[in-house]
Symmetry: C2
């Protein structure tokens, strides 16, 4: 069973020019087939709460701060992560159940290993 | 000569749950091979100022507001765009020269049609 883990993405720039972070093979654990981003989530809302049979994802707080509480099969306690840097990604393997909360203004960028497939979702 | 144009990306959600915007074939004009994002650009900084021989890009203001002034071959005046919605993308064809300015906190997400290739850049 692969566990969720954090990775640093290649980043170029400076405080004077701003920062450019790249998601590109071969520095990623999979080839990206779909990208989506989640915005304007009210503070009381919990997103996620589903898992995937096969989908792998990389999650990045492109802006602001996102809190994740992830249930992993075989682990008694959930794993907790706080994403607040656009240069850091959380690898989310299949069969993990995240609960995701957004601080105001946070933007969560998601890079996924496959196109959308309703049959890949686990809801219970 | 293809000109830059705006397109709306498929978006799901509500004010109560937040919004999820998807970049995925076949709703895009090309297959995405590289994703990068630019953050923390000081207001006085102008980014861009280069073109590409073949690269196509989609630019999205994932957070905040980004201003673009784009020189297009054969056009006397530059085309100006203001990106401020995470559901809207600007298609940037090859041989266009953007100047990009960021309002404070803005995040520019870029989806590119090819992996990084230094030989594809035009700097003059």
């Amino acid at each position: 069973m692969t566990l969720p883990y954090l990775l640093s993405l290649p980043t170029h720039g400076s405080a004077a020019t701003g920062w450019l972070t790249v998601a590109e093979a071969p520095s990623l654990p999979f080839e990206v087939k779909r990208t989506y981003w989640i915005t304007q989530v009210p503070p009381a809302q919990v997103r996620g709460r589903h898992a995937h049979h096969t989908l792998e994802q990389l999650l990045v707080a492109a802006h602001g701060t996102v809190h994740l509480r992830i249930r992993v099969p075989g682990q008694a306690e959930p794993s907790c992560f706080c994403l607040s840097s656009p240069t850091q990604a959380l690898y989310l393997p299949p069969h993990c159940w995240p609960e995701i909360e957004f601080e105001p203004g946070a933007v969560l960028l998601c890079l996924a290993s496959a196109p959308y497939d309703a049959a890949d979702y686990l809801h219970e």
